[in-house]
């Protein structure tokens, strides 16, 4: 079917819908808000589910930071939340590991994968390429509901008697494969695997949809090279997910077999619980290869949407075209390709062949090049601009800062000769929290503040947004900067208590300091959450279609677009997405829908 036919087809159904809407009644509550097939509603579902998971995940980090910061104190409030697991207000070690594991799983997969790309791919792809909806709205709906069910199962696992999975978010076997190895490796791990398998299904349904929508459903004139960088970034995010999640899934299937059907894919020569297991010949390292073949691209699945949104927001609020549009696309391609070739840098110390290790060193440090190109392009984008510090812009600037800080420490860890000391220390914790945790969150916050008016027709409260920004920005650096020092001193991650260690116990007061900042930052995030929900009903109303003076298509839709996005025809596109220039009428931007003037050259 040609592009044109799809557009017309979609248009026809839209007209039909419209007709219904006028003649009869509103859409039923269930089809509008629950089993919605409207990409904008699905985006909101992903976002709100993500926010709820983020609160749960962050609260978990507050609990285990209380333990780390004040190992000799007890907190009765914890017992209220965790019950038996924190008897007398003292966190149980077994549950400490469960919390760490769940914190990682929830934040990496449920919040920063589903909550981030699920939200913005759904919201922005049709709106920015000029489509009425996704290629398959039904699959899109399924994608959300698979995610929802995955979430329900994960949530249930928090309440079972033996506790949720507790082998770290990477769930390396044999620890995760053997019930004897830890409490969390029992039913909790089974639920974890089921939940994550459903999550993979959700992610694939979503990803395939995003790719086919971007490739097939662009409006007339929207060539690939006229697309906003957000769309390019979301495109590569989806490609990464489609190619790597199945590999993770295969790793899970083998793990399920080892756990329940007596196979020995990952198990060999193990003596545990007082007896020798019959399993021989498996390789525990195989799982790590399968896991990190997703695990590393996953980092970029988390980062790329933020990069795309930061590019868009920096350009819009600098009133300048993004600098080096093509270089930005090429660097995205570079990052995407390299993302598949570097997974073993998580495994330098597993006893892997040192020669193989050196290949991965080379490929890993290569990623620094496209990343550096992006940073320099962002810096040049704001250079000689006319900067408006909207909340979104603040977060986009913060994103760049954190991306630099976290990216640079990656150069240490990617170099195996340095990783051999820093591996699995707090240096790693600091590195990935800054770069794929906080920085990705900043990309997400920027996106939320920027597109909130498009989602709800209202603005979020600005003073609160600024407070939120500074509290988070300062807090993030206060938490994670000193952690590098702990890591350089060799302090291992995932320790429940350091007080018995001669080498690490002198960091006690620093740990207490970090924990206090964590609590403050947690409450600052609640400020954001409240702002988000309250502004849906009470925020300042959007009065103009294009509040930020953007060039892209989403701002040509009505203030509260219905299903189908545009009333009447889908606009046609005549120019690239970053035509910030003097239009001759005193404006500093030309929307993509404005035809070229006689004699004007397209970019």
């Amino acid at each position: 079917m040609s592009n044109e036919a799809i557009l017309h087809g979609a248009h026809d159904t839209h007209a039909h819908d419209d007709h219904h809407g006028h003649e009869h009644h509103e859409q039923h509550f269930f089809t509008k808000y629950v089993f919605s097939q409207d990409h904008k509603m699905i985006a909101k579902q992903f976002l709100i589910t993500g926010i709820i998971w983020a609160i749960i995940g962050a609260l978990m980090s507050v609990f285990f930071r209380l333990q780390l910061g004040f190992p000799d104190k007890s907190f009765p409030i914890m017992e209220k939340f965790l019950g038996e697991w924190a008897k007398g207000g003292k966190l149980d070690p077994e549950f400490y590991y469960a919390l760490v594991t769940m914190h990682g799983t929830i934040l990496v997969f449920f919040v920063l994968t589903a909550g981030l790309s699920g939200t913005f791919a759904n919201l922005l792809i049709p709106l920015q390429i000029g489509a009425r909806d996704m290629a398959s709205p039904f699959m899109n709906m399924l994608s959300y509901w698979f995610f929802f069910v995955a979430g329900v199962i994960m949530f249930i696992s928090l309440f079972i008697q033996t506790g949720p999975a507790s082998g770290g978010w990477t769930t390396y076997p044999p620890l995760s494969a053997l019930k004897e190895a830890s409490l969390g490796s029992g039913l909790g791990m089974d639920l974890w695997l089921i939940s994550m398998s459903l999550f993979v299904v959700s992610s694939l349904l979503g990803g395939l949809n995003y790719v086919s929508t971007i490739l097939n459903m662009r409006t007339k004139g929207m060539t690939m090279t006229r697309m906003p960088l957000t769309i390019w970034a979301l495109f590569f995010t989806a490609v990464l997910g489609i190619l790597s999640f199945p590999v993770l899934f295969s790793g899970f299937v083998l793990l399920i077999f080892d756990r329940s059907f007596g196979t020995s894919f990952y198990l060999s020569e193990i003596f545990i619980g007082g007896k020798a297991l019959p399993n021989v010949g498996g390789s525990a390292i195989l799982y790590q290869h399968l896991f990190w073949f997703l695990g590393h691209p996953e980092v970029y699945i988390i980062m790329l949407p933020g990069m795309g949104m930061a590019s868009e927001i920096l350009s819009t609020n600098s009133r300048k075209p993004i600098f080096g549009y093509f270089a930005m696309i090429i660097s995205l391609v570079g990052i995407t390709v390299l993302a598949f070739l570097v997974w073993a840098h998580h495994m330098f110390v597993t006893g892997m062949s040192p020669f193989l290790g050196s290949i991965f060193v080379l490929l890993t440090l290569l990623i620094a090049v496209p990343s550096a190109v992006k940073v320099f392009n962002w810096l040049t984008t704001i250079w000689k601009g006319n900067l408006r510090f909207t909340p979104a812009m603040m977060f986009a600037l913060g994103f760049v800062s954190l991306f630099i800080s976290g990216g640079l420490t990656g150069i240490f860890l990617g170099n195996s000769a340095l990783d051999i000391h820093l591996h699995d220390t707090y240096f790693v914790v600091a590195h990935f929290h800054i770069v794929m945790g906080v920085s990705a969150f900043f990309g997400m916050f920027a996106g939320i503040y920027h597109w909130y008016p498009k989602m709800f027709g209202r603005f979020m409260n600005k003073p609160l947004a600024y407070i939120h920004f500074f509290a988070t920005f300062i807090g993030a650096y206060l938490i994670f900067w000193p952690m590098h020092y702990e890591g350089i001193a060799g302090m291992p991650r995932r320790y429940y208590d350091f007080s018995a260690w001669e080498s690490f116990k002198n960091y006690g007061s620093l740990n207490a300091f970090i924990s206090i900042v964590v609590i403050i930052v947690f409450f600052a995030q609640l400020l954001f959450v409240y702002n988000f929900f309250a502004s849906i009903w009470k925020g300042r109303k959007m009065t103009t279609q294009n509040p930020w003076g953007s060039t892209t298509l989403e701002w040509t839709t009505p203030i509260n677009p219905g299903h189908g996005n545009w009333e009447g025809d889908i606009p046609e596109v005549y120019r690239w997405a970053y035509d910030y220039k003097d239009d001759g009428n005193g404006n500093d931007f030309v929307p993509q829908t404005t035809p070229l003037k006689p004699g004007e050259e397209s970019h």
Binding site: F81, P93, Y97, G168, P174, L175, A181, S182, L183, L267, I270, F271, I272, G281, A284, K320, P321, G324, Y325, A327, G351, S358, V361, L365, A368, A372, V373, N377, L379, I382, G385, N386, F389, M394, L397, S401, I404, S405, T409, N415, A417, L418, N461, K462, P463, L464, F470, W481, Y485, P492, Y496, W501, E502, S503, Y530, A534, R540, D582, D588, H603
Partner: protein
């Protein structure tokens, strides 16, 4: 009950804060035009960002000043010395990049804030020469860092010298078991199916003549001779562990079913380190660096680096495992064990 009160109070506070923020936004909307307000916000934010930058620089210095005393002393192994210098080079390179890019970021943010109606952006969209420059320079810098890294990596992972002493270190939930080969310098064969926590903690084959003089230390204490290369033969009985040697700047996973190795030459004795750190309790520690279950954080081993004489004196006091262990009643069992398992 108190949990609901906590949540309710949090909610109430948030509500009040939101109302105040809303009110302040409305109040601001009464003052001046929207454009004016935007300009003043831009100015405030630009100033705050610059303040953040300078406060940040000061905080970085303060943090370093406070924590540098708690960093580890110079490395206690030859391999670690190369590590420390490479680390320093990387810190300097990344530090320069960090400072330059951040200075530019905050300087541009301050300088180009929109506070003037006549201000127009410089609508620059691309410049291939610039792109080429900042693709090439990082590529060259990375090449240098990779070259240094791979040279060190090759050294660290090279084969141990022929005269290296061997020590076997086996992880189990949640402690380390150390084995020395004894006078013959050969370890007796092991089979995990022969493991018995009471009498044969490593599953050593007592029929193997090489086993006879093997020494097993269950307290997780490794003795090493200063200036002598030692090779660690690393394994695990149950889940994955990791031999973390912070002071020697090394680590290696202990994986069940696989043998990994690591060698290094300690350069500073434990006694000397006690003097250098002015800490009489100082001890080289082996930390488990791979999550291994609920006791992960307590899986501690120690290393005593001493002179050859001290080492010999200590070694002389050790008795072979099978001499010390209970009567070898169990020794008949292993032979049939595998057959029995297969029959099941």
């Amino acid at each position: 009950m108190s949990i609901f009160i906590t949540v309710a109070i949090t909610f109430l506070v948030l509500m009040i804060v939101y109302q105040i923020a809303q009110a302040s936004e409305y109040a601001a909307s009464l003052r001046g035009t929207e454009k004016e307000r935007e300009k003043s916000t831009n100015k405030t934010m630009a100033i705050l960002l610059v303040l953040f930058f300078f406060a940040g620089l000061y905080a970085i210095w303060l943090c370093h000043d406070k924590l540098k005393g708690q960093l580890l002393l110079t490395s206690a192994s030859k391999q670690g010395e190369a590590y420390d210098s490479m680390f320093l080079v990387t810190v300097i390179v990344t530090g320069i990049v960090f400072l330059i890019t951040h200075a530019l970021l905050f300087w541009f943010a301050f300088k180009y804030k929109a506070t003037n109606d006549n201000q127009k952006s410089y609508f620059l969209a691309h410049n291939n020469k610039l792109e080429l420059i900042w693709t090439t320079i990082p590529a060259i810098v990375m090449a240098v860092l990779v070259a240094i890294g791979l040279r060190n990596w090759m050294n660290i992972t090279s084969a141990a010298p022929k005269d290296a002493a061997v020590v076997e270190i086996t992880g189990k939930q949640f402690n380390w078991i150390i084995r020395y080969p004894g006078k013959d310098n050969v370890f007796g064969k092991r089979n995990y199916k022969d493991i018995n926590d009471a009498t044969n903690i490593l599953g050593i084959n007592d029929k193997d003549p090489a086993s006879a003089d093997d020494i097993v230390a269950q307290n997780g204490e490794v003795h090493m001779v200063v200036g002598k290369p030692f090779k660690f033969i690393i394994g695990s009985r149950d889940v994955i562990h990791d031999v973390g040697l912070t002071h020697f700047r090394l680590k290696m996973d202990a994986v069940p079913g696989i043998t990994t190795t690591l060698w290094f030459t300690p350069t500073i004795t434990s006694a000397k380190m006690k003097e250098m750190t002015k800490n009489p309790n100082f001890v080289y520690e082996i930390s488990c660096d791979q999550m291994c279950g609920k006791g992960h954080y307590s899986m501690r081993g120690t290393i005593i680096v001493e002179t050859q004489e001290e080492y010999d004196a200590w070694m002389a006091k050790q008795s072979p495992y099978f001499a010390a262990a209970a009567p070898a009643v169990d020794s008949t069992k292993p032979a049939v064990d595998s057959a029995a398992v297969a029959a099941k």
